[in-house]
Amino acid sequence: MSDDATSAPAPLELMQGNLDMISGVIPWGRRLGFRMTKVEKGHVWGVQPWKERLVGDPDTGVIHGGVLTAFLDNLCGTAAGSAMDHLRYVATLDLRIDYMRPAEPRRDILGEAECYHVTRSICFTRAWAFHETRDKVIATAAGAFAITKPRAPSTMGGNDAE
């Protein structure tokens, strides 16, 4: 059982020490401006700031639903990564989003995701987007992620080719 990954730091510790890196290394994440604010094992929090260029309806100034797709996808993926004992890259298999109520104009959106089950090859996750608390949710998401083969810790940010 001398897997290279066993001697490496747990993903959770790496993530907690590099919160800004998690979405900072993703060009589309940087463009949207979302970031992770807190990570626990299998549980992640983040914020998607309001920006003029992310608006879906110029009459209302509300952020486009498509922005939440990327934000919730990344939250779920990060929750999945943090739930594992060894570093693994996860790829979205599917993602379902339910829109409960419109976001309020010109307001940042908070998000939270949890990974509630992990098998040998799949992580099951769910997420919530809201302004204040999960009681008044804007959108919910459910996503399944495929766990890919082990990678060295140095590639955590996706900085090299496989």
């Binding site: 994440g29 949207l32 934000f71 996808d73 379902r96 989003i97 829109y99």
Partner: protein, 143 residues
């Protein structure tokens, strides 16, 4: 006359894309042919989700498909004054989207008075090898 209606509808779809800041941010456009439409998302570095393999971000593809589906609904529903509002959507990621242009087509599976059901597919090299598919419900009724 129907053809005139469709023509003006095509212009409205273009106007809808042009006035939606986030559609502009994505950099997508729609080519309308009568009641059919192909959405195009030209590859741009900012759309990347995984730098190592230069794959387009799944969230960007999902948003592209969502807007393509909305545009298709808008195109064929003459009574709609405002773009359809999404109720829910399911995105199925089948293949990696490489660093090249993406195309999408949306099909309306059921158009009701208040809600409609839409399926959309995104591809790169071959339409028979979809990169991502989307199934969505939209509110189309009056507010």
């Amino acid at each position: 006359m129907p053809s005139e209606t469709l023509l003006s509808r095509a212009e409205e779809v273009a106007a809808f894309i042009a006035r939606t800041p986030f559609a502009q941010e994505l950099g997508m456009r729609c080519e309308v042919m009568g009641d059919e439409m192909t959405a195009i998302l030209p590859f741009q570095d900012k759309l990347i989700g995984n730098v190592a393999i230069r794959a387009i971000h799944g969230g960007a593809i999902g948003a592209f498909l969502e807007i393509a589906a909305m545009a298709q609904v808008f195109l064929v529903s003459e009574h709609l004054v405002r773009p359809p509002r999404p109720i829910n959507l399911t995105i199925d990621y089948m293949r990696q989207a490489h660093a090249k242009d993406l195309y999408a087509r949306a099909t309306i599976t059921k158009m009701g008075r208040r809600m409609c059901s839409v399926q959309a597919v995104a591809w790169q090299d071959e339409k028979s090898k979809p990169v991502t598919t989307l199934m969505a419900h939209f509110m189309v009724g009056g507010d």
